[in-house]
């Protein structure tokens, strides 16, 4: 049971994510086929496989460097909407993590908050527009207390609720917005992938 997000925990997290997105690739593709263009699962599987390979080839010196490497790699291998968005999340998180040997709950909260703010700035979306933000914003809000594993579990659970809550929404941003009313009744793929992101972090720290 980890008390902080150390470099090994963070590395484990990213390796888990590569495996998770490979496994969930088809489901995310299916979600994206319903209201988008069917590539979200392939995009993330490709991007996080590249992350795993880079981490293996040249292990970063600290958590901040790791986050920056992840951000750069996602931006240069994912493409689409999710590449710059998740890339920005990690780049901004990397800035906040600079200098820290490890992250406690408050430290991680600052990172995630900055990352999500980066996503808002880049994508110009708000809560309730049926995007990954609808999973990420509740996840930030749910991060409190001092016990790391518990806080991460609560954060992931909040993301799950947020993701579920995208189903009845009308999409206003991203490709699903072209559907208007017809986007109702479908889960946002980016919200689903954000849940996995936070869930694997909770697992890595458990």
């Amino acid at each position: 049971m980890a008390e902080a997000i150390t470099l090994p925990v963070a590395t484990d997290w990213l390796n888990r994510l590569a495996a998770r997105y490979a496994t969930e690739r088809d489901w995310l593709v299916e979600l994206d086929s319903a209201i988008g263009d069917g590539d979200h699962g392939a995009n993330l599987a490709r991007g996080f496989a590249a992350v795993r390979d880079k981490l293996q080839a040249a292990p970063p010196a600290d958590v901040a460097a790791l986050f920056r490497l992840v951000g750069m790699t996602l931006i240069s291998t994912v493409g689409g909407a999710s590449g710059p968005l998740y890339g920005t999340l990690f780049l901004e998180a990397g800035k906040k993590a600079a200098g820290a040997a490890s992250l406690d709950v408050a430290g991680w909260r600052a990172c995630l908050e900055a990352g999500v703010a980066g996503i808002r700035a880049r994508g110009k979306a708000e809560a309730g527009e049926k995007t990954m933000l609808d999973a990420l914003l509740p996840a930030v809000a749910a991060l409190d207390g001092t016990a790391l594993p518990a806080a991460l579990l609560a954060s992931a659970a909040a993301a799950t609720h947020g993701s579920d809550a995208t189903i009845p929404l009308i999409a206003r941003k991203g490709r699903a917005s072209y559907l208007g009313e017809r986007s109702v009744g479908h889960r946002d793929p980016g919200a689903a992938s954000s849940v996995m992101l936070l869930d694997e972090l909770a697992q890595a720290a458990a």
Partner: protein
């Protein structure tokens, strides 16, 4: 899924290799990061035009690289915007000292990736402008949505701006021209069948044997409405009505009428559609000064078509006629 491919992951790179093999006289392919550049790039003193987007829309954009059109194209994964490092490398490879224009289709992913790239290019000391194409009238436009998609007008803008750059117009002028072409162009498309993204392995959507999707996007994004299959003449009307009303086009306007196939519709049907589209234009008093018929901005093997109407001015007409030599569009040389 039945495709002439080796593996879904390999399609884009292998098609690039095929283009390199077939068109080595015209273009040069970089594989990592992936972009296609004019063989003779950079052209000193000329504004360089770079476009890009997901693969699966061939010949757009790679087939438009060459003299008088694009200096470089960045292909993403199928239906996925390319990444900023591709655009950065392409811009650096083709900048001839007069700066680079990014022509960007209005999709969230494309916009964000090109934005990131523009920052990087600018940081590297190269002047860069971006022009966004958002001509698809099927999509509700509003401040609170992602806005209209970029479709058929992209092809026309790339040809016209390519000619402007070739005749020596500067970056600000070429960018302004591109925005003017976009402002004067309107499109709408329809799908008779879905397409199948190689890595997805099954059709993006499904339509009944007697159903079509009006207002389809080029990534198989659903459109305005689903309706029963109708005669081609009626479909031409349903596609053109919103296009005509939107600008609006007025009697006496000189226009370019572009009937585009989505990839799986035979040419004989595109001419059937063109016939009626031309009649409708004539009924509205429009003068079809130029036209284009064929598969230029496609959606893999989707059956369907789109109609683009561009209101021309004298400069656009002149630049449309200027020589162009690319794998997919060629005249005058």
């Amino acid at each position: 899924m039945k495709k002439l491919i080796n593996a879904p992951e390999a399609v884009v790179a292998e098609a690039l290799a095929g283009m390199q093999a077939a068109h080595g006289d015209l273009l040069r392919v970089s594989f990592d990061p992936a972009f296609i550049a004019r063989a003779d790039a950079p052209v000193a003193g000329k504004v360089a035009i770079v476009s890009g987007g997901g693969s699966g829309h061939e010949p757009m954009h790679g087939g438009f690289v060459g003299h008088g059109m694009l200096d470089a194209a960045c292909p993403g994964a199928v239906f996925t915007s390319p990444t900023p490092d591709q655009m950065l490398a392409a811009a650096q490879a083709v900048d001839g000292g007069a700066g680079v224009l990014f022509i960007v289709k209005n999709y969230t992913g494309d916009i964000m990736n090109f934005d990131l790239a523009a920052e990087l290019v600018r940081d590297g000391g190269i002047a860069v402008e971006q022009a966004v194409i958002d001509d698809d009238v099927a999509v509700q436009d509003s401040l609170y949505t992602a806005g209209r998609r970029g479709v058929g007008t992209t092809v026309l803008a790339e040809k016209i701006c390519g000619a402007a750059a070739a005749e020596g117009q500067d970056l600000a002028a070429v960018a302004a021209l591109c925005r003017r072409v976009n402002a004067q162009g309107r499109s709408m498309g329809t799908a008779l069948t879905s397409c199948t993204v190689p890595h997805a392995g099954k059709p993006t959507f499904s339509l009944a044997e007697d159903e079509i999707e009006m207002g389809i996007g080029i990534h198989g994004e659903p459109g305005r409405t689903r309706m029963k299959l109708a005669p081609a003449d009626r479909i031409a009307e349903l596609l053109l009505e919103p296009v005509l009303a939107d600008l609006p086009f007025r009697s006496g306007d000189r226009v370019l009428l572009f009937v585009n196939g989505m990839g799986g519709t035979p040419l004989i049907e595109l001419y059937v559609l063109y016939r009626r589209a031309a009649e409708i234009c004539a009924q509205h008093g429009l003068v079809i000064a130029r036209n284009l018929v064929g598969n230029y901005i496609t959606s893999l093997e989707m059956a369907g078509a789109s109609i683009t109407l561009l209101k021309l001015d004298a400069e656009m007409e002149r630049l449309w006629d200027a020589p162009v030599r690319t794998p997919a569009l060629r005249w005058g040389m």
